[in-house]
Amino acid sequence: MIFMDFLFAFIIGGLICAIGQVLMDVGKMTPGKTLSIMVVAGSIISGLGWYQPLIDLAGAGATIPITSFGHSLTQGAIAEAQKHGWVGVLTGMFEVTSSGISSAIVFGFIAALLFKSKGKVN
């Protein structure tokens, strides 16, 4: 069912963001701290092998939140560790997850060329 597919993406994605909001509001954390904690959480959950089932269930609902960044880094490291042992832990990390960082760098550079910041009200 395609509708259920999208519904799961919405609910799981929304829930992960809601957890982030709880960290910010109740835990009184800055956005940077919140995101760092969520990345670490994603990495640990991935190490336990529970993140992939979440992606199978929710698709983009699990791959778009920043937790998936921790997951793919961990999976990259684990996959290389399987092949090459100790060395692979270091070398494999960015195998899976390069797209987020590389596109952020490229688009960041383009944006710096194109845009000028202006004080606007919310």
């Binding site: 597919d5 999208f6 993406a9 919405f10 609910i11 994605g13 929304g14 992960i16 963001c17 809601a18 982030g20 909001q21 709880v22 910010m24 509001d25 956005p31 940077g32 701290k33 760092s36 904690i37 969520m38 990345v39 670490v40 994603g42 990495s43 640990i44 190490g47 698709g59 983009a60 609902g61 791959t63 778009i64 939140p65 920043i66 937790t67 998936s68 960044f69 921790g70 880094l73 490291a77 684990i78 560790a81 042992g85 832990v89 494999g92 990390m93 797209s99 987020g100 960082i101 596109s103 952020a104 688009f107 960041g108 550079f109 944006a111 710096a112 194109l114 000028k116 910041s117 919310n122």
Partner: protein
């Protein structure tokens, strides 16, 4: 005025954080961003030869591209004020952190300004992601080689 008396006044007058409202807003906007991401996933699977396993990369890149446009026109900041973690936690928020810093530091030049400051907000996410991935993979490797678990 004594500290305790002031603290009492301060707490009485400072408005409470609207926890429930904020969490609901984060849930809906975050969910919506993920749903858009999901639609992009389908787009790449149907119109290009990406599989469910490989489709993550172009989806993330597209989300960051959209984030660049919204950031550059000053709209992501408005979304952030409304949604809080709802727009910060998705990967577009990571893009916003990098791109807003890049735009802001353009006046100090491309090397020291854009280059030096691009990751001043998002850098910690990379640091903790990489470090934690390293530790998790290492622990797993140790556990596997000592025969406690299997891959």
């Amino acid at each position: 005025m004594e500290q305790e008396k002031f603290d009492k006044i301060e707490q009485e007058i400072t408005p409470r954080t609207p926890y429930v409202k904020n969490v609901l807003k984060a849930f809906f906007v975050g969910g919506l961003i993920c749903t858009i991401g999901h639609a992009i996933t389908y787009f790449y699977i149907i119109f290009f030869d990406f599989t469910e396993k490989t489709v993550g990369n172009p989806t993330v890149a597209t989300m960051i591209f959209l984030s660049m446009l919204l950031t550059g026109f000053g709209l992501y900041q408005k979304l952030g004020q409304f949604a809080g973690a709802g727009s910060a936690v998705p990967v577009s928020g990571f893009g916003n952190a990098v791109i807003s810093a890049a735009i802001e530091h353009r006046t100090e030049g491309f090397v020291l300004g854009v280059g030096g400051n691009m990751f001043k907000l998002a850098g910690s996410v990379i640091l903790f992601g990489v470090t934690s991935a390293f530790v998790v993979a290492l622990v797993k490797l140790i556990l596997v080689s000592t025969g406690v678990i299997e891959w």
